[in-house]
Symmetry: C2
Subunit: 211 residues, 2 copies
């Protein structure tokens, strides 16, 4: 199992490499990739070492091969399905983001409680009432849920998701969710992120020229 931070970077490497591939480029150096993503060449080489790929010295890495190796790690062999819970603005934004199918993650369904958002196709994704959660998740064999609903219902829905077989959650609610330990959670808390930016802006402004 690779380190979390390495996985994050691999995802970014792949996207950059795909761009380069489209531009008909064949090889690239660790320092190019590093410069593009604001990393150090050492970091890049280390990550590539960890995934067991080796380039050729003096020539760099084969873009095509490196994409293949990263994809094998990130995607595995099977397609993985995801669902969105909550089709408000955030849910729609995410649907749009992923309407272009990248990698082999597919969003196969969305859920909401609002009748005006249910039983229709929104941003290319079929939207159901949450009452059908268990049924649809089983039918589609979805393993990931993206939570964009209000904090109030978050834990209750999470319990249902876990029961239905969901093994990974991308959590946009500000709620700290309780799940069994075989369920992986990635939290994204906008309030915290913004407060963090504010803090470091404030600190930087106060310490101007203190170096």
């Amino acid at each position: 199992m690779l380190p979390e931070k390495t996985i994050e970077r691999l995802s970014k490497y792949r996207r950059y490499l795909l761009e380069k591939l489209e531009q008909q480029e064949e090889y690239l150096y660790s320092h190019e990739l590093a410069a593009a993503l604001h990393l150090t060449p050492e970091q890049v080489r280390r990550d590539i070492m960890l995934i067991g790929y080796t380039g050729t010295q003096r020539k760099g890495y084969s873009i095509k091969e490196l994409i293949e190796v990263i994809s094998k790690i990130l995607d595995g062999d099977n397609k993985i399905n995801a669902v969105i819970i909550g089709m408000g603005h955030l849910g729609k934004a995410i649907s749009n983001y992923f309407s272009i199918k990248r990698s082999n993650i597919e969003i196969v369904a969305a859920f909401d409680i609002d009748s005006s958002k249910v039983d229709r196709i929104i941003s290319g994704i079929k939207s159901y009432h949450v009452d059908n959660l268990d049924l649809i998740i089983n039918e589609t064999d979805a393993k990931i849920a993206i939570l964009t609903l209000s904090p109030a219902g978050a834990q209750d829905i999470t319990d249902q998701l876990v029961y239905a077989g969901i093994k990974g959650i991308l959590n946009f609610t500000s709620v700290t969710l309780r799940v069994p330990e075989d369920v992986y959670i990635e939290n994204y808390d906008m309030i915290t992120s913004l407060e963090k930016v504010a803090y470091f802006v404030k600190e930087n402004i106060n310490n101007e020229g203190t170096l």
Copy 2:
């Protein structure tokens, strides 16, 4: 300057403490706060030590006082203004999130290029055409920008933002932005996050019962 991770937790502590305060609670223990946020009591005590607050032994921390100390650190003395760039679904989602004024960060303006989203109030925030970026940022003295626009224009807009005096960016585009080093950037890359969840879900499923 406090560690980044401590700042993140302080933001979460404050929100939990505010809830408790509303419930008329007066004191809480490190282990209560830890349990609520899935941390260890040691971590909580260490963070509180770092901000220089001390509770009373056997009795715990005064909720009211702890909120005050955290707020002093996160908020500082002055209000800080933010703007949103891009009023698509994501921009609107974020506007709604922050329409209830929390802490002392205020979103004072939004920008878009789409004429249908300009010169009107959306989710309680006045929306302008991007041509007015410099003017409005100076007028409002905004220091933070939240980027929810398409990747294509992201670097160009960022250059304009920096020129206008923005010192912190919450970046929702998947672009790696180039900025002077006194500008703090917090990146949020949904594609990477989802691919990361997918990877760990896959690994967990494959290693079931391997412990």
